[in-house]
Amino acid sequence: MSYFAGVDVGSWNTKAAVIDEQARVLGTAVVRSGADLAAAARSALDLAVGAADLSSSRIAATWSTGFGRGSVPFAGGSRTELDCHARGVAHYVPGPSTVVDLGGQDAKVIRIGPDGRRLAHRMNRKCAAGTGSFLEEIALRLDTPIGQLDELAQTATEALELGSFCTVFAGTEMLSLIRAGKRPGDLAQAAYRSLIKRVIEMDVLQGTVVATGGVFGHHPTMVRLLEQQLGRAVVVPPHPQEMGAFGAALAARDGAASVEVVAGPGSDGDDAAL
């Protein structure tokens, strides 16, 4: 039996997943990305391999994904998180589908065709609205640990709306509502609802809607609100937070070709390479 691993180096967290040839998930791990991305990747992989009760030498191939995918020295290949979330979701959910991936730094909507292949994607603008960072900001305003925000939102009794597009303006709007005596649970849910609105305006959500990423994984109330907004069920696949890592492990198993990189001319001046 051969085993494969994927490491998803995200802006906040680095996730790893270990699978077998049948794509069964044997172990996963999540660690903080911090400032040393290579170390975070190594740490996440070691933990996932340990959770799978394997030794590192049993891993036939490891691929990377996420914004730090280029900072994983031991990766045999890489794919974008757009590809890996689509690849992972297509394994669990037959197409056509639309993946809504909410991460700490960005939000993505990925359309998948009936054959399981990715058709198109849309990412949020250069702005924290519609991303996990927005919830961090709101949790701070509500003086609540981010890990308890969902619990707080579940106590909501009044459907409040935040009208602003902007994280900063939404924060000040929140202050006005606090001054008006609104309950923290209602405010937490208003923040979720605001985030959902930002996501559904990114693209038309066709076919089966699938929620992935750490934000949906840790804030199940958001899934319920998305279902309410869409008027239909939303699928949360196994390991939503580790879906990118799982997709990278599938890419490693399938030997999906990396988009080949050749030595480009590079930067010859002060125009930093992307």
Binding site: T80, M123, K126, V259, V261, V262, G264, P265, D271, L274
Partner: protein, 412 residues
Amino acid sequence: MTQLASAAALKSVMANYFSALGQAARDRSAPVAWCTSVGPAELLRALGFQVFFPENHAAMLGASRRANHVMPRAHALGYSQDICSYLTSDIGAFRAGETPLATYGLTEVPKADVLVFNTNQCRDVRDWFEWYGRRWGVPVVGVRSPRYVDEVREADVDGVTVQLEALVAPLEQVAGRRLDPTALSEAVRLSRRLSDLWGACLDTATHRPAPLTFFDGTVHMGPAVVLRGAPEACDYYEVLLEELESRAGARHAAIPGEAFRVFWDGMPIWGRLRALGSLFEEFHTAVVASTYCNSWVFAALDPAEPFRSMARASLELFIVRSEEPKERYLERMARFYQVDGLIFHDCRTCPNNSNTRYGMPQRLGDRLGLPTLVLDGDVNDLRCFSDEQARTNVEGFVELLADRGATARGSR
């Protein structure tokens, strides 16, 4: 970006152009007119003006990554972050006493004796020119063009023709001479010749592999922008065309191992031009054509009918048109250049040259059966651009093209 031997000739043509401008401004040997990029340059040349194009200047500020340093000085005057960042870069640089023209020996932008706009592209160009007009106390004249044009109607051409003809008297007054109709015809003839040559250069990218990319085009289009109606620009594009045809014949690729071909709609992102060029090269993807570079192809120009043909050319321009003719144009371009996908730049401060906000990428993608990508950014304001997001967006798009290619090969 591609190293073309013609680059030396380009440098020389541009240096001579700026040098002549600088000299005219210094010793008053010729009147200086500022002109919008697709304004009536031929008329100005025929009247003996040295013609300066502030949009070219703003692009230089963007490419040299000075724009974000100087824009706050324009914002402080009430010119918003949400309006044209060419305008705010240029006015900001003026207030800061900065100019990238220092490279050509000019210590400041050449002071205008008159500023001439055409609002066919946007209103911002007029606001921009009026700021300088007020500051220097010089006339600001121009064409108030129809916009969002469906089919170009004779009535629209009539209206712009009348406005162009009405410019003659005030411009003659500034120039201190009468317009010679023969000189105008000659300027239009040269402009048309330049346009044909530039168009032929861009058409060489229909070859596989393409001998030049959009990123090369944005550099080599300089003379097509600033030297319309001048013979030296034609000379330059004859040299460039010969080189490109020779490269195409020898299958010399601008992007080694060209695997994918894509089209770029919208403005360049000047401050990231080289980085984006390198990024696409990493992924063997040639951005073979663009609406931007093709915007300086004016097929309507006709020396036998100078005013009317200038009017028609200014109205047929892509940026002036409504969604339907724009979509027809992009469909033609996608087929002509045989592209695998289209990239639309949503330029934050240039809504008039962003074709992403009324559903066009989705409609065109569906109709052509091609993937489309919307890249958020800006022509000059790098606060609106994220390197990380752009990289993931582009890489994810190329992965998608590669997967489609693999599927197509598998089904053959």
